[in-house]
């Protein structure tokens, strides 16, 4: 339960802050925008792989723990 709250609260704060920050970005800096776009793509793809691998590792660890418990 505590872990769920730890995940949910930063997400809400991030969304609230992000909706304000977006409006402050300059619209005509094409080169900066382009470089920023690459960063966003890399971050998005990194998030996807980290989330998936995180779930894989989490399942593997829990399986190992429960098997050890069953073996006792």
């Amino acid at each position: 339960m505590k872990r769920l709250r730890i995940v949910a609260l930063p997400l809400v704060v991030l969304l609230l802050v992000a909706s304000d920050l977006g409006g402050q970005l300059p619209g005509d800096q094409m080169a900066t925008q382009s470089l920023r776009a690459y960063w966003h793509v890399f971050i998005a793809y990194a998030i996807a792989i980290v989330m998936v691998l995180g779930w894989v590792v989490s399942i593997a660890r829990r399986l190992a723990r429960i098997e050890a418990q069953l073996g006792q």
Binding site: M1, V7, L11, S19, G22, Y45, A48, W55, I59, L70
Partner: protein, 231 residues
């Protein structure tokens, strides 16, 4: 399918999904053409949309198995529901984090309080509530029943999310480009990468769902042994 069968099928599908994910990454970065209007940021589409699809599929399965659990009271259905809901949370988080990263470039804002985005965030919170409700009761059986109702209510949000862009076209979120009456309006190579990514995410989800289900089955076995030992 036996416990071992579930686990080996899950492992095979998960490995296939992980290899497929490498393929999707390669296709997205090196093969598919760059969108003329949006530039490189459009490549986020190839993970954002499949993550959204997998999230809705997972929550749909969670709701369906929850409904069947309320009807048949079969523990296996509840186990399937919790495993699917966990997968839905993982893919939902990918969808909710990659979307703003794309929006920051395409719309010049990370977040816009529009119907589709609000309803999607609401879905994520409903399923967060699903896990909270499960663990909040003294009697685990009661918790499972309450959580099953939450899952069904949450899934009612899914068609609203899909229809919201059609009902409210004045907002920033784009209209569907694949599921349309007149057929997909995406370029051929983009459609190929999208469909590959959809297949890969779905395979990965089912693989990990089966492994998660195997874990939940083992947990039930441990609980049964503990009960037998104390009796």
């Amino acid at each position: 399918m036996t416990g071992k069968g579930i686990r080996s099928t899950g492992t095979a599908l998960a490995l296939l999904g992980l290899v497929g994910m490498l393929l999707v990454y390669w296709l997205s970065f090196f093969w598919v053409s760059t969108d003329r209007l949006q530039g490189v940021s459009q490549r986020i589409f190839y993970i954002h949309v499949p993550a959204a699809w997998t999230c809705f599929l997972a929550f749909g399965i969670a709701a369906l198995t929850s409904g069947m659990y309320l009807w048949l009271r079969d523990e296996r259905l509840d186990r399937a529901a919790v495993c699917a809901a966990e997968g839905g949370m993982v893919f939902g988080t990918i969808m909710l984090t990659t979307g703003p990263l794309w929006g920051a470039i395409a719309w010049n804002t990370y977040w816009n309080w529009e119907p589709r985005l609000i309803l999607t965030l609401l879905l994520w919170f409903i399923f967060l509530g699903y896990f909270m409700v499960r663990g909040s009761t003294e009697n685990p059986e009661k918790g499972k029943r309450f959580a099953a109702v939450v899952a069904i209510v949450g899934a009612l949000d899914i068609p609203l999310i899909h229809l919201s862009v059609i009902w409210f076209p004045q907002f920033l979120h784009p209209q569907p480009v694949v599921v349309k009456p007149e057929g997909p309006t995406l370029d051929g190579d983009m459609l190929t990468v999208l469909l590959t990514s959809l297949a890969v995410f779905t395979t990965l989800f089912f693989g990990l769902f089966l492994l998660r289900y195997a874990l939940e089955t083992l947990r039930a076995e441990v609980r049964a042994r503990e009960r037998a030992a104390t009796a």
